[in-house]
Symmetry: C2
């Protein structure tokens, strides 16, 4: 009972995952509650606090919890607030003092909060593929493209707490795809799961190339991946294109912070057999000679079901 | 005699500037020696050491020197080496253990070394426009485009000591201009003094637009600036274009590190009355809404003749 543990909370639009984690990254107990059945934050926090008390009891770690780490959309590390999180039913366009409120509901237990991608970077550095690295860039390839930048062993938060929005750097300057953020040509309009599906729909419409994807109604990135595994040429070319766009962007990121590695995580990263080659080719063709062939491209090694909890929990060790 | 001072050395291809600097950024004594009359590093270092002993005597600060800071092309902060500096007559394609050698020539006085743009960032943070800022990006607009990135009050050196090559991020993806680094479309092929002169020559050839620049033989960025001040329309449009390219790139830099400000320095920054408007317009049009109108664009306030010495000297305070 003396070994210290931390709690990780991953807040998503639909569900909230909570877990108790030890120093080696073992999830000792976990539970999932709904995020989307609340329209007010107070009852949601009460529900989170109940869940935490349950898993603390399940893992039998009462008195050994060092702190609580939270990964949340639009989470601000400096303030502990969740700001303008329009995808959370209890969020909306305002600042919620989440860390402070949760700490009060947990009898003063310290709470740190950041966004999901920064939490993923912390998790990878603490328990995963970036263990021992002091300079790396985490790229999460999910519905969107998120990023967590680590320099000198610390996540970069910037002047206002919101640094690391690499999914919204410009991948295509002119006539780029419309992004949800209001801009055009953002990296995530091409290199996310949604972006890959967009590429597929676009290319199926613009070309006559035969493809097993033509028989599908609502194409997802998973369909493109399955087709590529089945040897579908168009699907493989879609990943070539996606990898090239990613590699070109990574070259610019390397010129910024000279990382030891770029670490990929998320649903789309599962297609690594089709992405790695094109990414490395474009990255090395577009970076300064001094970094050519020197920056590693690695994939998360955290168990996908645990990764979100582990990432958030890693913040707890800093408290 | 008790107040501590530092020494700053700025190594350029032709000359080396050395100065004694106090904590308020006053240059108490300075001198300039040639860099390009040496083919071996040993006699060059002996010459630098003689110069330093002279200015230490001139300023009457013997015994009060805290350390020596050096700004040099391809200077590596981690190793103290100057690596592959082909523009230095005694440099060439090898590693020179410059900091160690100079320290030995100065009876063990501590020496820190970095590249010119990082030194400029340190100078601006210690004595200039970025005093009190913990997160900013320094962009030097000279013959090339250099950068020094400050995060959490520290210059970013990255995994290998060479971070912050923003002049070689991609400004124009396809059919971009050839850069000296071997790549195409690099920011510095458009937004440096050389880049502005290139734009002028290109536009004069491709259009019939009347311009006072047509009467000149060998157009420099200074000529374009003088023409713009004289109301020349083409010259003003060249700065509009240069500012747009810079602003588009700055938007991506902001998405990386969320700085409080971008600080401009260098010969081309003198054209601020023509650059500021176009830069701010493009920067705010291309950045995520959360940073729109919030990131300052500021210009160096250091006296140009002292800036290089001040920047290098700032490193000395960390020793």
């Amino acid at each position: 009972m003396n070994e210290q543990v931390v709690i990780g909370i991953d807040i998503g639009g639909q569900t909230t995952k909570c877990g108790v984690v030890d120093a080696r990254g073992n999830v000792l107990a976990q539970t999932v509650i709904r995020s989307d059945t609340f329209t007010e934050v107070e009852p949601y926090i009460a529900s989170v606090a109940d869940a935490l008390k349950k898993i603390i009891a399940d893992a039998d770690v009462d008195g050994s919890v060092r702190g609580i780490g939270v990964g949340a959309p639009n989470g601000n590390y400096y303030t502990g607030d969740i700001e303008n999180a329009v995808n959370l039913t209890w969020g909306g366009s305002r600042s919620i003092h989440f860390a402070k409120m949760l700490s009060e509901a947990m009898d003063g237990m310290p709470v740190a909060l950041t966004n999901d991608a920064n939490a993923a970077a912390m998790g990878e550095m603490t328990y995963g593929a970036a263990r021992g690295m002091k300079n790396f860039i985490m790229i999460t390839l999910g519905t969107g493209v998120g990023s967590g930048i680590v320099i000198n062993g610390e996540v970069v938060y910037g002047h206002d707490g919101f640094a690391g929005e690499l999914g919204h750097t410009c991948a295509v300057r002119h006539n780029g795809r419309q992004c949800n953020c209001g801009k055009t040509g953002c990296l995530e309009t091409y290199a996310s799961a949604v972006g890959v599906a967009r590429t597929a729909r676009e290319w199926l419409e613009l070309t006559d190339e035969p493809s097993s994807l033509r028989s599908l109604d609502n194409i997802s990135s998973k369909d493109v991946y399955e087709a590529a595994k089945g040897g579908d040429n168009l699907a493989i070319k879609i990943f070539d294109f996606t990898g090239r766009i990613l590699g070109e962007s990574f070259a610019d990121f390397i010129e910024f912070s000279a990382p030891e590695a770029i670490v990929l995580f998320g649903g789309l990263a599962r297609a690594k057999e089709f992405l790695t080659g094109p990414i490395e080719k474009a990255m090395n063709a577009n970076v300064l000679p001094l970094w050519r062939g020197k920056v590693k491209l690695v994939y998360s090694i955290l168990k996908e079901s645990d990764a979100a909890i582990l990432g958030a929990s890693a913040l707890g060790w800093e408290l």
